[in-house]
Amino acid sequence: MDSVVRAPAGPTAVGERFAEALRLDGNAAGGIMSEVFVADLTAARATCAGCGTTREVGALLVYAHSMGTVVRCPGCDGVVLRIARTPSRIWLDLTGARHVAIPAAAPPA
């Protein structure tokens, strides 16, 4: 069975393979994003500033660390979004996203 991602080699290989097994996707960042954005961001379409590919945020790769959440492009591995929480703030780095298109809310029933 082929691997999805080329297995890394070298001294950091073990750490990287461990990180790969722990990786999640944008769905897992939905909760913390809901603390900042009124709209659901997992269905938003984000354009990676690195490679220009547009995907729904739910389809991006998420690495959650104690220091915060890193959302990466599955195509070029570039960081699209970083979210970190401190006692006084939620810190966002959106520089890896060229733009984000958020679906408009459905009209009230």
Binding site: L22, R23, D25, G31, S34, V38, A104, A105, A106, A109
Partner: protein
């Protein structure tokens, strides 16, 4: 770790065990941030030796879509908090919100949810969360669902929703949204929702259910006996020309391997949606 929570008086609602068909519209985008709520445990239902379904009454629940999840937060007496995500297993049409949790022996949160919670206990949760890994009948089919272990939970919400919506429908409507499930579990007694899946399958010729048991199949087992691979998917999945909506959920390695295989078989990557549960296949 006990959840310490103030008792909050909530509006009474009458949860019911049986799904109720409604004509409710799909939940619209919310107009305000998702708040943490105090849910009450109505019932804890054993599914398998390690899995329990928590049926919850959530005050102010806005409704959900099949595929969405909630975040659950436990607070210990010393203030330490642990938070995990759990997929919603109930259909949007059901009155109680149901989470199915599989216990991880060294988990921090799951053993409390599966072994300690009792009806009447309260649980802090927020949701529903997610707009990407969601499906409703209105989106059409064919529907291809691939589950590993507890990854079956959000896919079951989709199948339950589909069954409720199509309950009174004619054959034409059913054939417009045919569904196939491929579900990988280690053993026969670890197949979550096993009997219900059999009932759904028997009652609906437009639903196919295939199981693969990867560790100890029963001696008379005539189904698949290995991890999901490209060949199995080629056999079970629709051809790419049918343009199925594919949803893959479970442990990260399984999800990534299945998604890659589907793309390799020719399916549009944008039509293959994934929800990774991490290395162990379920929240700890």
């Amino acid at each position: 770790m006990p959840a310490t929570s103030e008792t909050v008086s909530t509006a009474r609602s009458e949860p019911t065990a049986s799904p109720t068909a409604t004509t409710a519209a799909p939940a619209a985008s919310r107009a305000r941030p998702i708040a943490w709520r105090l849910a009450s445990v109505v019932d804890v239902v054993p599914e398998t030796p390690r899995a329990r379904t928590l049926r919850l009454d959530v005050p102010g629940w806005p409704g959900h879509r099949a595929g969405q999840h909630v975040d659950v937060r436990l607070t210990a007496e010393d203030g330490y908090q642990a938070q995990r995500s759990y997929s919603i297993g109930s259909a949007p049409e059901e009155l109680a919100v149901a989470l199915t949790v599989e216990r991880l022996d060294d988990g921090e949160v799951s053993p409390y949810l599966t072994d300690e919670l009792r009806p009447g206990d309260r649980l802090e949760l927020r949701g529903p969360i997610g707009g990407h890994f969601v499906w409703d009948v209105a989106l059409g089919g064919p529907l291809l669902l691939v589950a590993g272990g507890s990854g079956i939970v959000p896919l079951m919400a989709m199948l339950r929703h589909r069954a409720i919506v199509l309950a009174g429908a004619n054959d034409g409507a059913r054939h417009r949204v045919p569904a196939r499930l491929l579900y990988s579990a280690r053993r026969w007694d670890e197949v979550i929702y096993r009997d219900e899946l059999a009932r759904l399958h028997e009652g609906d010729p437009t639903l196919d259910v295939a199981l693969t048991l990867t560790r100890e199949p029963p001696p008379e087992w005539a189904g698949f006996r290995r991890r999901i691979d490209r060949m199995m998917l080629a056999e079970v999945a629709w051809p790419p020309a049918e343009r199925p909506h594919a949803f893959v959920c479970g442990p990260t390695p399984l999800v990534e391997s299945v998604a890659a295989a589907l793309v390799d078989l020719g399916h549009d990557p944008a039509a293959v949606k994934t929800e990774r549960f991490g290395p162990t296949g379920g929240a700890t």
